[in-house]
Symmetry: D2
Subunit: 344 residues, 4 copies
């Protein structure tokens, strides 16, 4: 059975496992106070060109979103997100469970429009009963989005400007950040993200790690006693080295970018393959997630040979499905997919 | 200055204050265990034709919504509401603060459509990743809605049927219930509400009381240890008699309906007055809240003589405003408004 | 049946009900923005000799404790209380439900010792793993305590000094503050409390009001957007006038002190009566709550004629019971109790 | 520098890392739905002699305690713990942050007494105002305790009986369970724990894993939609295989017991060494944590050569310190410690 259902179905990049073995016998301080965490942070600061960045390693994406959002918001504030935002739809209500509303504004293939954001904020503050409403206290975007799409540098700058006008932080969810940075069409770089965003995370789980996300507070704005709040919410690993060694490896010799680039190349092969066979794309995604419209019977046939994700109904007889490549996708995987498509 | 800005700007119905004075010297048990609470409950059960109803008195509307919703939902559930629902927009995020998401579906001048609700629930349960999403665990409607509109009996029944199919409770926010029940156009009665809804509340604060709402659990479904949870959330009054005496008075000699009818009559006078003067209505409301479209300069002029609520921008040069009558609105108030409108 | 079971079994002081009637027809802004609230605040500021005090009216004691503590604490902080503190024992876990630990230190007939508090704080900060523990972020005391006892001015000053050394606020729960201020033995005044405490509340519910507590932030330290957080937790009354008129009345012509003094006088009569009859006191209380040790059979007999509160077992054959006087206790009540005690 | 400061300072058991490498290329379902998780669960069920056990893998101890306690308790319930319980002292208030009080009863070198527990529960239910208090809804014990001590089988049975009488679950925190099971003095077995406890966890982080704890619900009492609640609180790993492979390895060929036994043997060597040198023990611990009383100057000297944990002040001139062995402690480590002690 071929596997294109997601980008977290394989283990870690082999180099990471090797490093875990190599460092295994060292006695190290717990809770992220080890020198691998320090080294990883330093490398990330350099990659972001942000020497004062405060960095914290966490285990997973929902945990990271919940922790960043709930510790940066005041109790009376909510987070503004596109309706399709992962925090609004696919995190089992983790943000609300932490006490905060997700304030939805329209999504444009996953993206938020700076003009619409500004309009929303303006209207809120002009409302005479706004004290009885949830204050917009942060803006959440994902990059790549849940639909694999990307902001341009100019779009990020525009969102950042709106946030600064209204004095609220801009937070970028980078669960698949590598695949965004290595996309052929993007002009967005890591330093640019560090400049425009007040906080963001570099995803490890979906980009070569066993688990782990690196949260970067770019404006010396890490919440006071963040570690204690992480502990309080159950997110603090005793063996912080597990995250430190992984990120140190990912940011050594450009490994993070290199494996992301590989996933993008495989995605391009995949796009070409589907194009050749005459499949329709639901939207244009320049990253590792590709959304195809399949006729339902054909979908059922295909499912017997290859795993993919069923996204949403398209119409009565068609369904949108997602094929994802990852750091672990090989040329052979694509070739096997080609054979499957030819046989159907 | 004339006052039409809301339905809670005056004190209580005089009879209520008199009863508070008459009963003042009695030594009574605290926390709602007094005989006035008991008597009020019994009268409400009769008015609802629901002899097994479990009833609890609370101090205010947001408190009631938050308590009912958060104690009836499981931690992984959210409440479905129209986008305009008070719980979603105007309660400072009280529901989310209690840990639950408000799941929005479209609003039709304040109302939820049973077909759209069914579609929403169907789609949720068909989604293969629904375990990573917030479970729809309750449906919230308001009656009258935030726009003064009303469900018909058939519409309530349809919503109730959808809820029963999906085994989730239907909750009706009756902050202004009296004004709905006494509307000339409605076919909805209190027993009908008790039949179709699993829980609802009869609003006192906006219908003649100093404060207070009566929550009615109609299906022997009051959450176990509800009193303790009310206490835990700060909603339990030591002198529960304050609520008991008020509701006992409101449900003696049909006072609740009588004063609601008076407000409806005043609303009809108000509608006639605005119609005569050629004002445009934003929508047709058969209850005590009336939404008028005013030209902005005219609005400014009017504001010098009469208080009303600025609802939302209509277009560049017009604004939607709300005029509300209440149990305390008099014929004289309407006559004075007439003079103001004539002078302008 | 005689009633000494608590200090909230009667309605309100008659003057309060009269004022509610007198002001009933006035159209007033909602949510505490009326002129009665303003006037009450100004009178309280004067009584406290604290002209910059920020004041907010709430409906009940548990609500007040939960709101003050949860909005003043950071998420990683808890509140230090004596083991007998109302917040720790009798509020159904309202503080923990708001996310904060109650950090217990010993109780000395309801009081906290400044030296023990200092020792506790010192130890916490000296612990190398304190970041994995709950930060002590506030100190909670009650005055009178749950045992009717009182701090001296010197004791309050000492607690205040410890709090200032450790830069955490001192919060005084004054549910029965009037009875403390009017005790014959006290040297503590309202201005003294305003000076030593960072926040405290003047209880209305147990001292003549239908409901209501006045929270006083003495150091311009009211949490930002406190109103929104009160709304969010369900504590905001639409008709804020209900609280404003009551506190305005209580602080006009010294009514609050006058009715408190009356309760103290009745308590003294009660003490004398029990002393004369040879009853044992569990502790010396200079306020309106009196704790008597009753032999169990005698207790059962007495219960048939008079209501009192069963406090806690004393030993196998005795029980501690509480008799409370209040603003509504009369000389006649005491005389009737005397007859009951003589008949037994 | 020698390392005896804790049992989580090294990486994982080598066999675990090898298995992660061996299984790395397999495409597996996410979120714990892989066959390694299934296999690990089956092996644990057998080891517990509890074929209906429901098992869930989580990442760390505080996360596990918070998730188990907060999902099993009703909102109005708290968890009973000894004053020294990890949940009460060293988890940054995670339980309270989830909304629940930790109800403390006395600790006897870390252990709870069944008689005292019964007395506590009896008193709570006899209190006429118990509805205004936190309901005791669960009992939490740790085994080994925070002081390295162990319950006997009879003690566990007694606690279990009290819990069953009061119909509340008994929860055992087994962060260091292996070290308890392999202690030479114990009569407690894994099946015995599964029989007496309603839920417990087998600690991985401190017993050979990189991270991970296995929660075992022994009475078909896993909370409904537990996975969704884990997700909601940020505890769900996308690559659940990381936990599945580790526990599958730990429960293959008795590895978990074997490496625990090794730590116990090293602890015995350590005890012997300290005894020989005339050191005083703070208490008798039959497991991997040893508490020694050091004279303060001697402690400072020792700290230059060996890392240990400073536990608490003993008196003015002495301190209690903790030395811990683990699965990774070697005979050579003990020999090196001997040299250090001889040199001082």
């Amino acid at each position: 059975m071929l596997s294109f259902e997601c980008d977290y179905n394989k283990g870690a990049h082999r180099r990471i496992l090797e490093r875990l073995l190599e460092t295994n016998e060292e006695a190290l301080p717990g809770y992220g106070n080890d020198h691998y965490c320090e080294s990883a942070k330093e490398k990330i600061r350099k990659a972001c060109d942000c020497e004062n960045a405060e960095i914290f390693f966490l285990a997973g994406g929902t945990q990271t979103n919940m922790l960043v959002i709930s510790t940066m918001l005041k109790p009376y504030e909510g987070v503004v997100s596109a309706t399709t935002g992962h925090v609004s739809v696919h995190e089992a209500g983790a943000i609300e469970h932490s006490g905060h509303k997700v304030l939805e504004i329209p999504s444009h293939t996953g993206k938020m429009d700076a003009g619409e954001l500004e309009e929303y904020l303006k209207r809120y503050w002009a409302d005479s009963s706004h004290e009885h409403m949830v204050f917009p206290g942060m803006v959440y975007i994902s990059h790549p989005t849940e639909y694999g799409t990307l902001y341009t540098g100019a779009e990020l700058e525009a969102l950042s400007n709106v946030c600064r006008t209204y004095k609220i932080p801009l937070y970028l969810d980078g669960a698949r950040l590598g695949y965004g940075l290595m996309s052929k069409t993007t002009d967005v770089t890591l330093p640019m993200i560090a400049k425009y965003c007040d906080v963001f995370y570099i995803g490890g789980t979906k980009v070569g790690a066993l688990c782990g996300e690196a949260v970067i507070f770019t404006k010396q704005n890490m919440p006071v006693h963040f570690l204690t709040m992480v502990k309080q919410k159950g997110g603090l690993l005793a063996k912080g080295r597990l995250l430190g060694v992984q990120f140190d490896t990912l940011f050594t010799d450009d490994l993070y970018c290199q494996i992301s680039r590989q996933a993008i190349e495989m995605a391009e092969n995949l796009i070409e393959l589907f194009r050749e066979k005459g499949y329709r794309f639901f939207l244009d995604s320049p990253t590792n997630q590709q959304f195809i419209i399949l006729e339902n019977k054909e979908m059922e046939k295909l499912r017997r040979k290859v795993r993919f994700d069923i996204w949403e109904p398209y119409d009565e007889t068609h369904t949108v499905v997602r094929f994802a490549t990852s750091f672990a996708t090989t040329v052979e995987d694509i070739e096997n997919l080609q054979k499957v498509l030819e046989d159907i």
